[in-house]
């Protein structure tokens, strides 16, 4: 191994990179743009605050108190609907996914139950909802539990089981906090995978590798300089992502040693896959197509953009065999929850995978033509 040769390769790679404007865009600016776009779209999803509409047909002090109760310490943002209008038409017209209708005589029925102990006195709260909405079932579940609580209190008996809520998070987190580690993992993956494929396949196709094989540079020098180059670019991209995330969205993430550990393992794993692909698919174009075929499922099925738990069961099982899943999980565990045990478990899994594919990549990378 020659540091001088590795240095020479590194200089050429970095000069080639910053003189190629599209490469700079896709490797640095593109992930930053993703952060800006997704961060802006989801920036209002703090604390999972739901909103819905209420039509109070009773217009009494009791019904007003119920509406206030439903706000649940600001968990719900409630907008009132004029009692004179047709709530169903109003929901359709305004594309609302949930309107809760409090009936007339709400207060009267309440008084019958409370003061006259009339157990037959009851009211029906109507949910006018859009079944195609993904969030409406969650809202209705929460409302049901609120009404169950009210019913239970009115029965006069103390509850046997009292739930207590304790958040697993030390602080409040938003969608952007969950999104940033995924984008870092994805950016490092795409840069390393395509970096390895482009460098090896294109230069081989152009005959540059053949020329290099007649110089003292060794495979080890070549591969290490490429890994180092990918790592430097990954660090630059990660810093850019973090700067934008902190500067624009004021994210709450923990910076610790796991971040560089996962970036390094991510680089080794995907440079290794890139080297294998380059050997299997001899043409630059087919190697790039193979890299795309690997990258896209990885990007969408390993929890980069949305939680794996949202996917059907069989896809969740599939996600757990994807290497990027463990980079995502590991980075989130360390940067959001500060959970060293999960980070360690994920780093071991991705570390073993990276070691295997990188060694295979080195073994399959040949300069001699046979």
């Amino acid at each position: 191994m020659s540091p001088r040769v590795i240095g020479a390769n590194l200089i050429v790679s970095i000069k080639s990179f910053y003189r190629e404007k599209t490469a700079v865009f896709f490797r640095i600016a593109f992930p930053v743009l993703l952060i800006l776009v997704f961060g802006t779209i989801f920036m209002n999803q703090d604390d999972v605050r739901f909103d819905f509409y209420v039509q109070d047909l009773d217009q009494s002090s009791s019904s007003a108190e119920l509406v206030k109760t439903l706000e649940l310490n600001d968990k719900f943002k409630i907008t009132t609907v004029d009692p004179a209008i047709n709530a169903t038409q109003y929901a359709k017209h305004n594309k609302l996914n949930l309107v809760v209708v409090i009936p007339q005589d709400y207060e009267k029925s309440l008084m019958q139950r409370m003061k006259r102990k009339d157990l037959n006195a009851s009211v029906t709260i109507t949910y006018i909802y859009d079944p195609s909405s993904t969030s409406v079932s969650t809202k209705m579940q929460i409302l049901n539990s609120v009404f169950a609580g009210i019913n239970q209190r009115m029965s006069g008996k103390p509850p046997f089981i009292t739930p207590a809520e304790t958040s697993i998070l030390n602080r409040k987190y938003r969608f952007i906090d969950f999104f940033v580690p995924g984008i870092i993992a994805m950016t490092v993956m795409t840069a390393s995978l395509f970096g390895a494929v482009n460098v090896n396949a294109e230069l081989r196709q152009k005959g540059v590798i053949k020329k290099l094989s007649t110089t003292p540079i060794t495979h080890t020098d070549w591969i290490l300089s490429n890994v180092l180059y990918q790592f430097i670019l990954s660090v630059i991209a990660t810093i850019a992502i973090l700067l934008v995330s902190y500067g624009v969205f004021n994210v709450s993430l923990q910076m610790n040693v796991w971040l560089p550990v996962f970036v390094v393992l991510d680089v080794f794993a995907f440079v290794g896959i890139g080297m294998i692909l380059t050997r299997v698919a001899k043409e630059a174009e087919s190697a790039a197509a193979a890299a795309n075929a690997i990258m896209f499922p990885m990007m969408f099925l390993s929890g980069t953009f949305f939680p794996v738990e949202m996917m059907p069961g069989f896809l969740q099982k599939f996600s757990r065999i994807l290497p990027l899943y463990y980079v995502n999980e590991g980075l989130r565990a360390s940067m959001i929850f500060g959970d060293n045990m999960i980070a360690l478990r994920c780093s071991v899994i991705i570390g073993v995978f990276a070691a295997v594919v990188f060694v295979l990549g080195m073994m399959t990378t040949k300069w001699e033509e046979g």
């Binding site: 020479a8 000069k15 540059v208 020329k211 007649t214 110089t215 003292p216 001699e368 033509e369």
Partner: protein
């Protein structure tokens, strides 16, 4: 001094197979130190396979190849430090300038004393030193490739088809650089399918066809040995001339629709043909009588045309 020490390259019974294809068939030759050795043959003859085996890029199926007294299959790392290579269809990093490219290769050889300016000047690239590789023409790229092949001051320089695809002017510019190498006394192994390139530059020419060497010697020796005849060319002839020459027992060939070329044994044959043309009252614009060139020797030895229409090969 031993026999090996006088030779830069020694190839003995070299064979290379790719599956069922026999690319190089039991060839042997030596290259003396300080000479320009040209490997001449058409596309697919086995030139590049042979030179890449000597350069340590490929491995032989059988036979022995030594370069500077070292076995090419065993001493790759020592050999590459002492040779310079311009591979066929040379290419480099698109966005790196001429000067940076030479510096890069110099660093790969860990050469601290490479005369970068001298190499740029030798390759006649002074006014292009800040140009990126992707912006260079084919000829400039090849000249840069030659400069790179010299960064480690090699004892043997391999140039694999250095002028293929270049227009005549660019080709001559590359030849000027190669003549400079010859003057410096470098051992040069040149593969080409351009006859005039071999005639101009080479001390020794080996003609290879279908994987075998069919003739070897200096250009003069090859012509003397294989072509003891004359070539008569008649320009702008009458239509009747072709017929009368044929009737006289010669085998004329059209070089284009107006000119014909006739192979004759002696000066007397030339006189006979001219008299025959005069007798039938036909005419021609001019004539040329000369000894055959390497191309005709190649044609005689291999029965194959050495290269396609040059117009198709011009890349620029």
């Amino acid at each position: 001094m031993t026999k090996e020490a006088e030779h830069a390259i020694h190839v003995e019974k070299l064979t290379k197979r790719y599956g069922d294809l026999l690319a190089v068939n039991d060839i042997s030759f030596t290259v003396r130190k300080g000479e320009v050795f040209a490997f001449l043959g058409p596309n697919g003859a086995g030139k590049t396979t042979t030179v890449e085996i000597i350069e340590t890029i490929r491995t032989p199926t059988s036979g022995k190849v030594t370069l500077l007294d070292m076995d090419v299959t065993k001493k790759k790392h020592k050999i590459v430090r002492r040779i310079g290579v311009l591979p066929q269809g040379f290419s480099s990093f698109d966005r790196i300038t001429v000067r940076e490219t030479i510096q890069y290769y110099s660093r790969l050889f860990c050469c601290k004393d490479t005369d970068i300016d001298g190499l740029i000047e030798l390759a006649n690239l002074t006014d292009k030193s800040k140009e990126q590789f992707k912006n260079l023409s084919g000829g400039l790229k090849q000249r840069l490739g030659i400069a790179i092949a010299l960064v480690n001051n090699p004892e043997v320089v391999f140039l694999d088809e250095p002028t293929t695809g270049l227009d005549p002017r660019a080709r001559r510019e590359v030849w000027d650089v190669l003549l400079g190498l010859k003057k410096k006394g470098k051992t040069v192994f040149l593969t080409t399918h351009y006859m005039e390139e071999a005639e101009l530059l080479a001390d020794t020419v080996a003609i290879i066809s279908k994987g075998s060497i069919v003739a070897m010697g200096s250009p003069g020796e090859l012509i003397e040995r294989n072509a003891n005849y004359l070539v008569l060319t008649l320009l702008s002839v009458d239509e009747k001339v072709f017929e009368i020459v044929q009737k006289m027992g010669f085998e004329p060939a059209h070089t284009n629709h107006k000119n014909i070329k006739v192979r004759v044994e002696h000066q007397d044959d030339v006189r006979r043909i001219l008299n025959g043309i005069k007798d039938i009252g036909a005419s021609f614009l001019s004539l040329d009588v000369r000894k055959p060139n390497l191309e005709e020797v190649f044609l005689k030895l291999t029965g194959a045309v050495l290269r396609e229409d040059p117009a198709e090969e011009v890349a620029e």
